[in-house]
């Protein structure tokens, strides 16, 4: 019995290979995910950890006065018994100027300057360490961003409004002892002492050390000695504690990555389940007569069922083995390609291998179970008929379940909409969307016969190719639906994310367009900075400026007369600039800040305050001793505005801010005269200010959306795996359908269909199936995206923006997938042997 089945497997290697391909891809993606996250954790936590530090001394942050460690403390630590060396580490504001004269963004400039020492902090990748004034070493990524290499002259912006030009003598990668950020710039000891300051440091302020690294052979002794010597006010951590902390942090980072990646792997697997299940169904269908023969000669149902399941296990094991090997390879390859600085550690844990096998075998068995049951139900009588078929499951239950799921999902989304979205409501809406999504997967076969089939009749006299292709596509709705569903899974998620992205993009663009005039020149702080009063002074002095908006943001509590308090923020503005250089979207009342403040829609609704009413703004100021002290100002509500990222919270005349209260802003908007001339003048005025970018509003939008594009790109790539697996599904379906239709194809040829025509027919069938999956995926994806953006942004569900470009590319891609997937099956069909087909047995 078993031998018969295994022989049979071997006899149909082609069909088996297609099933294997689906298993292999699914398993490979899961295993690769695991390997990448393991290796990432090992890279951050293992290979890169410092082994030379015995202890790290840091000033306790709360007592702000003692944040820096004075030189005499370092000297005291160096003299302690057991301490062989005490290395004070300097930190200061340093920002590398790029080739375009502006600052880069790869490092956090406030701590990007440090002093060179011979510890394991620095690993040179080129040149040597700096040894005298006028020399500097750069961190590899920062150097790459600035386009600098050894021998070049680097310009560095420093704290206290100074800058320095030095020759690059070395490029390094950095290893942290604690949780400090990687620096970008390293000077030699004495130059660092001279140059490194905080961003706003007053000239001549005494430089201290950010932390002290202690070295010595006996780690506990060093730690104990340092603790005794320093007392309170300082944290002393042992090297092993630091390493453990780092490993833990790396592990939790890796876990976050792993979870995200596994979610995508799950999606790919889901597509894989459809493909594998569909392939098994077809394999079983094609061997109906063989099963019937087995039954006729005395095999019990359970024996037939077991035989099919055994086949699944064998395929699962073989597929998993190849998949695990491929996955490990892919994972290691990905680690090579990822931009990781320093030594990359590769880790393949036994878990990855085990998980790969578990997933491969379980998924295959689950996929094959239905087919196995149906194979067992084949009547022995079927052996005697030429047109025997495996009993079909009814679609009724599946359709009803699907429709119920769609209806319930839609209802779940609908009930959340009238009121404000709370966290449970968001969860409910999202769950509803997923439920409806599953519902569509369930109803896909019915959609084939109720939507696709009538479509074939809609085409008046479409010619034999299209007619036969369409008829074949709708001939087995379950099969076509399973094939299309696999495509739909990946595609719908791509389109859902694209919809969220497009909605965000449109919202942001709309917001910026409505708030910022097209003619405005936008000044933006580079490298996570803020625009201070010197920028304001320079910008105001630029000839031709007629309006300059300087939105600055800070925290404020809004208190209504009834005593309700809402924690929020304010944006201070110069009333003269409102309406010219910046245009808040006023939804009620007036936009004139001279008449009073503009509440954000959200706060006005929450507090129930209308135009003309009074509210109090409670700011946080500081008293003479530097202690925080609340200050209240009574204001009239002049209007209500929409809010948003550009003009956040309540808008207030900057003159109304109480003394000691000010906001921070990273953008300014200037208008006046010819925009091009103004921009040129602004660029000239800020040519010597690497920390100020001169842009227009289009660049502002792109800057705001940059991170989103990056995330979306990554998401698309990861979802691509699901689409690739589904493409194998299309090939499988076509190849097996063609095998099934050998006789029909032979007749078709005998009646006068040329090889080319047969090829075209199969290709068109493939395109029809792919496009069906594409249309379904895009449609469902856009709706899913609608709910996602509703849940995330609290926009109305149908306030979504359709990502036309992505949808168009996806649809064209599906057409291409159809053509490519048909390549081999079409050739095979065209080679159908006419004589064998019409020979009567």
């Amino acid at each position: 019995m078993l031998r018969a089945m295994l022989r049979d497997l071997r006899a149909h290697l082609g069909r088996v290979a297609m099933t294997l391909a689906a298993i292999v891809l699914g398993v490979a993606f899961v295993v690769a995910t695991w390997v990448v996250s393991d290796s990432a954790a090992a890279t951050v936590g293992g290979g890169a950890a410092r082994s030379d530090v015995a202890a790290l001394v840091q000033a306790v942050r709360e007592t702000s006065a003692a944040a820096e460690i004075p030189a005499d403390v370092v000297a005291r630590l160096a003299a302690l018994p057991g301490v062989s060396r005490a290395e004070g580490v300097r930190e200061g504001y340093a920002a590398l100027v790029r080739a375009d004269g502006k600052l880069g963004t790869t490092s956090w400039p406030d701590t990007a300057g440090t002093d060179w020492d011979g510890s394991q902090r620095f690993t040179l990748t080129a040149g040597r360490g700096p040894s005298r004034a006028g020399e500097v070493a750069l961190e590899a990524q920062a150097a790459a961003e600035a386009g600098l290499s050894v021998g070049d002259s680097a310009r560095v912006l420093l704290g206290g409004d100074r800058s320095d030009t030095a020759t690059v003598v070395g490029v390094f990668t950095y290893r942290a002892a604690g949780r400090e950020f990687d620096p970008a710039v390293a000077y030699d000891e004495s130059t660092a002492a001279q140059l490194l300051r905080n961003r706003d440091a007053a000239p001549g302020a005494a430089p201290g050390f950010a932390r002290v690294e202690l070295f010595g052979p006996d780690e506990p002794a060093v730690v104990a000695a340092a603790r005794t010597a320093l007392g309170t006010g300082f944290d002393v951590d042992s090297g092993s504690t630091l390493r453990a902390d780092q490993a833990r942090a790396a592990q939790s980072d890796a876990d976050v990555i792993r979870k995200a990646l596994l979610a995508f792997a799950a999606v790919a697997l889901m597509a894989g389940v459809f493909v594998i299940a569909n392939t098994f169904t077809m394999l079983v269908t094609q061997r109906t007569r063989q099963f019937a023969l087995l039954r006729a000669v005395g095999a019990r149902r359970s024996q037939v069922r077991r035989a099919v399941l055994t086949e699944a296990v064998v395929l699962g094991l073989v597929g998993s083995t190849i998949g695990v090997a491929l996955g490990v390879g892919l994972g290691l390859l990905a680690m090579r390609l990822l931009p990781v600085d320093g030594q990359v550690a590769y880790a393949v844990s036994p878990w990855a291998v085990l998980l790969g096998y578990a997933v491969g075998v379980v998924v295959t068995i689950v996929s094959a179970y239905g087919s196995a049951r149906r194979a067992a139900r084949v009547s022995p009588m079927a052996a005697l008929r030429t047109d025997a078929a495996v009993p079909r499951r009814s679609l009724v239950l599946r359709t009803v379940l699907g429709l119920v799921a769609v209806a319930a999902g839609a209802a779940m989304v609908a009930v959340t909409s009238p009121d404000e979205l709370t966290e449970p409501k968001r969860m409910l809406a999202m769950a509803g969307a997923v439920l409806a999504w599953v519902g569509v997967l369930l109803t896909a076969p019915i959609l084939v016969s109720t939507v696709l089939a009538p479509l074939t009749r809609l085409l008046r006299s479409p010619g034999p190719v299209t007619r036969i292709a369409m008829r074949n596509a709708v001939r087995d709705p379950r099969r076509t639906a399973a094939t299309a569903s696999a495509l739909m899974i990946g595609l719908s998620l791509v389109c859902a994310f694209a919809t969220v992205g497009q909605t965000l993009r449109d919202d942001t663009t709309e917001q910026v367009r409505s708030a910022v005039p097209e003619s405005a020149v936008v000044l933006r702080a580079a490298a996570f900075g803020v625009l201070d009063d010197t920028v304001l002074a320079t910008a105001s002095a630029v000839p031709g400026v007629t309006g300059l908006a300087v939105p600055r943001w800070g925290a404020v509590d809004v208190v209504s007369l009834r005593g309700a308090v809402a924690e929020s923020g304010f944006t201070s503005l110069n009333p003269a600039a409102v309406g010219s250089a910046i245009r808040p979207k006023v939804t009620a009342g007036s936009g004139d800040l001279r008449r009073g403040v503009l509440l954000s829609e959200q706060i006005a609704t929450r507090l129930g305050v209308g135009v003309g009413e009074q509210v109090r703004f409670r700011f946080l100021s500081a008293d003479a001793a530097g202690q925080p002290k609340p200050v209240e100002v009574a204001v009239t509500v002049a209007g209500v505005h929409e809010g948003g990222d550009l003009l956040r919270g309540q808008l207030i005349d900057e003159a109304l801010l109480p003394a000691g209260v000010s906001g921070e802003g990273d953008s300014m908007f200037a208008v006046g005269g010819d925009p091009a001339a103004l921009r040129t003048a602004m660029e000239k005025a800020f040519a010597s200010r690497p920390d100020v970018l001169v842009q227009d509003r289009g660049q502002l939008v792109e800057d705001m959306l940059g991170p989103l594009q990056l995330v979306l790109g990554l998401v698309y790539v990861l979802l691509g795996a699901a689409v690739v697996i589904a493409v194998f599904g299309v090939i499988n379906t076509l190849a097996l359908s063609v095998l099934e239709r050998t006789r029909e194809l032979g007749v078709f040829r005998a009646l006068g269909a040329s090889r080319g025509l047969v090829r075209r027919t199969v290709r068109r069938e493939s395109v029809v199936i792919s496009l069906y999956g594409g249309v379904l995926g895009i449609g469902v994806g856009v709706l899913l995206g609608g709910v996602m953006q509703y849940v995330i942004l609290a926009n109305p569900v149908f306030g979504l923006s359709v990502p036309w470009l992505t949808a168009g590319v996806a649809l064209a891609g599906m057409g291409l997938v159809g053509v490519l997937a048909a390549l081999w099956p079409a050739r095979r069909a065209a080679r159908a042997d006419i004589l064998a087909a019409i020979a009567t047995e």
């Binding site: 010619g463 008829r471 001939r475 029909e744 078709f748 040829r749 005998a750 009646l751 006068g752």
Partner: protein, 282 residues
């Protein structure tokens, strides 16, 4: 029809000399088909020379393995003969329509089958996804031609399928399916219709309907039909019966009745027993 009578019966066991003033729709000369090589070589057709008269229903009979199906497949260009030639003579397509099949490439052969031949198979072989009407017009459809409605009506009424045109094959009985197949074979007004055991899968009543229809297509539409059968009743509908044994034409009968066919078969079988002892049989 009597005027276009072919030559005399071939001499026993020998080949027929090429015919000169015989109006043939299909003719074969020295048609040979061998399978395998060396000791395992089997001769399915042994230098067959014959012709099928235009406007005639010719039946090819013979025991299993006599080569009758192979002969038909070679005549229809479905199978490639090892040697010899096959001509197709068109009358409705003009005088320049004499085509020799062996030199043709696949696409030309395909077009020839589509436009100038019709097929009826034992297993009906309708395309399951197409309706009866779509199956009937498929050859025209493949050629990108529109059916001549008047002629289509004639054919459909002749097979009596008017109320079944929009049914799928699965919704039709065997007899109805075979009548659809007959209509499909005739719709393009081919030079010749090849019918391979057209009644093999039908009960006698449905079989008689199909045979009656083929007969009428010859009588009323001057269609040429070549039919392979092993049923003497089916053969009795023919104008002429060719008997094949061991890849050779061994006998021929004109205006056959079922009884005469049966007699001839019996006499051939007793002769054949002598030959099989020598060891032939394809």
């Amino acid at each position: 029809m009597i005027d276009s009578c072919p030559s005399a019966p071939p001499p026993p066991g020998g080949s027929v000399s090429p015919m000169t003033n015989f109006e043939a729709a299909v003719s074969a000369e020295d048609l040979t088909k061998r399978y395998g090589s060396g000791d395992a070589q089997v001769t399915a057709l042994d230098a067959v020379t014959t012709a099928f008269g235009r406007g005639e229903l010719t039946a090819i009979m013979g025991p299993s393995g006599s080569g009758k199906s192979t002969l038909m497949h070679c005549l229809a260009g479905l199978d490639t003969p090892t040697g010899g030639r096959v001509w197709l003579d068109g009358s409705r397509h003009g005088s320049a329509d004499r085509v020799e099949l062996s030199g043709l490439r696949d696409d030309a052969l395909t077009a020839l089958r589509r436009d100038r031949m019709g097929f009826v198979f034992q297993a009906f072989n309708l395309l399951p996804t197409l309706t009866a009407w779509e199956n009937i017009t498929l050859p025209l459809d493949l050629a990108g031609r529109r059916p001549d409605q008047a002629f289509a009506d004639t054919v459909i009424d002749a097979v009596g399928l008017r109320d079944r045109l929009h049914h799928r094959p699965a919704q039709l009985s065997g007899g109805q399916q075979q009548r659809v197949a007959c209509a499909r074979a005739l719709i393009s007004r081919p030079d010749v219709v090849f019918a391979d055991e057209p009644t093999g899968a039908l009960d006698s009543r449905a079989g008689a309907e199909v045979l009656g229809f083929l007969r009428r297509s010859v009588d009323e539409l001057s269609q040429t039909v070549v039919m392979v059968t092993h049923d003497q009743v089916a053969a009795s509908y023919a104008d002429r019966v060719l008997f094949l044994a061991d890849g050779k034409i061994v006998d021929e009968l004109r205006e056959p009745s079922a009884d005469r066919v049966l007699d001839r078969i019996r006499s051939l079988e007793s002769a054949g027993r002598g030959r099989t002892a020598v060891g032939a049989g394809a």
